[in-house]
Symmetry: C2
Subunit: 306 residues, 2 copies
């Protein structure tokens, strides 16, 4: 049994790789919901949807989010009203948020709704939101104040400097059913190549979760989201610097050393392997950039064998 801590695009690709090499039914993903957002009354779960659509083979490969072959009639019509269109919701994607919102309003917990949606797409992995409770990632923009994560990430295109990240509601949240068992019962825990602060960070903040991963440190492998000092996608590199860390695999190693016995870094960072190990975490060097399903499967094999 393999349990992965997952954010969005990088995690989705990692999971696709794990599914390719693991036995059917063996992969569980615990997915970040800190960047969930209610837009136009609809409950949007960007990371859950990116994982679901990717594993279903339905993701738009160019954008990396949303559905391939999507249409945008609703967004275009919303412009007439001057409505919020900075967060693009495709017409078919809207159905996912409509279904989720209806089911939540019926009283179903997010974990159940997530299983229903994943089942409808036949994703092959068990997807569990980190919590059924509301946790809201918020960032403090330098010289401005605190804003919601999606306003930072999508609205500002993560182009502004931040000084802090917090997870409103996390302390009162409980892990979703199955989360702690999936970590405790796994033969391998994988920390996906996701942003350590705003993708993996919220998960670890849910009471009991950090401790559960720490307890499995020996069997936990993290994959660095930083390659050659840069994030493949998103603001993980500048966040490392802005939040007082080093924007390199060494910075990642220091963050993850308490949680994982092993850090997988890219060939491009081979020269930093010794510095990574000096941070107290075993280092494995391989090709980590997942451009194709084959890349992802090869990386997954390294992660499982590590």
């Amino acid at each position: 049994m393999i349990t992965a801590l997952a954010g969005g695009v990088g995690a989705a690709r990692m999971l696709r790789g794990l599914l390719a090499v693991a036995a059917p039914g063996d992969v569980t993903a615990i997915v970040n919901t800190g960047d969930d957002v209610v837009l136009h009354g609809l409950h949007v779960s960007p990371d859950l949807d990116t994982v679901t659509y990717t594993l279903a083979g339905a993701i738009d490969p160019e954008r990396g989010w949303g559905l391939a072959g999507e249409s945008w009639a609703a967004m275009e019509a919303l412009e007439r009203y001057g409505g919020n269109t900075w967060f693009r919701l495709g017409d078919r994607d809207l159905a996912t948020h409509m279904y989720r919102t209806q089911r939540l309003s019926d009283g179903a917990p997010l974990s159940q709704v997530t299983a229903e949606i994943a089942g409808a797409w036949d994703v092959g992995a068990r997807l569990i939101p980190m919590t059924d409770d509301r946790v809201e990632t918020r960032v403090t923009v330098m010289g401005e104040g605190e804003i919601g994560f999606q306003e930072y990430f999508v609205g500002r295109q993560h182009g502004v400097a931040i000084s802090a990240v917090r997870f409103a509601g996390a302390l009162e949240a409980r892990p979703a059913p199955g989360v702690l068992d999936a970590i405790a019962g796994a033969t391998r825990v994988v920390i996906c190549p996701s942003n350590p602060f705003v993708s993996i960070g919220p998960l670890l903040e849910v009471p009991g979760l950090r401790h559960a991963v720490e307890a499995r440190r020996r069997d936990t492998v993290a994959v660095s989201p930083i390659v050659a000092g840069a994030a493949l996608k998103g603001p993980a590199d500048r966040m490392l610097v802005e939040l007082g860390h080093e924007a390199s695999v060494v910075g990642v190693a220091r963050l993850y050393a308490p949680l994982a016995a092993t850090l997988v870094i890219d060939d491009a960072d081979a020269k930093l392997a010794r510095a990574v190990e000096a941070a107290g975490i075993r280092c494995v060097v391989t090709h980590t950039v997942m451009r194709t399903p084959e890349d992802a499967a090869a990386l997954a094999k390294v992660v499982l064998d590590a």
Copy 2:
């Protein structure tokens, strides 16, 4: 100044006629919101939207509801999840509900949001929801129990017998800002050819509204939604019977006699003019079926001159 009490399709056509013959800016419509419904978390106001889209010239002329040239990608995608698709929401139409829901969630009252939407479509009339509060039309299905209006109207295609109609929340509702003034200050109050029970009925149930119309009885003209014993659209005819009335212009006359000095009936019912007047309401006979904008304008002229 002309103030019309309005439901959906019939009212929308009547309003289009009134706009054609009245001075610009002279028409106010007070619109039923008793059949508003929250679907997938979205606040849908069917009558407001039918009026708005019709006056904007954007309504689908065949269906009589929704937008012309609409696409249905979201509804089709919702089928994957087994979501509720009995209430069809087109992709562009969704934008209206998304905008409304967002604005209501921002704290804007429905009357303000309605003015914004009507302004975006440049409808030429002032549209006011009957109330900013939540009123919910519910019907009791014979031998089954009470269900929401849209479940009856759309879900069951109004094909089941009912024994009662009620308007949950009406007694605690307040007329939306401008409603009572629009009635008190009008030179002509028009009761549009809408369903007396579930379109006009909810309006009259909002505290103060029935009294306001009664006080203007002399200047109030109703147009019969029943022609030759049948409703042009919807279940008004069978509702008249099921709720203990006569399914004819005479049944309508008895309902409206306390409110309106004049009832306009169709040529097809000319032989019932005397029976209408016996119910205590003056009767005007003309062509009331509005198939074209010209029909609507001609009817509007009769209503204003009555």
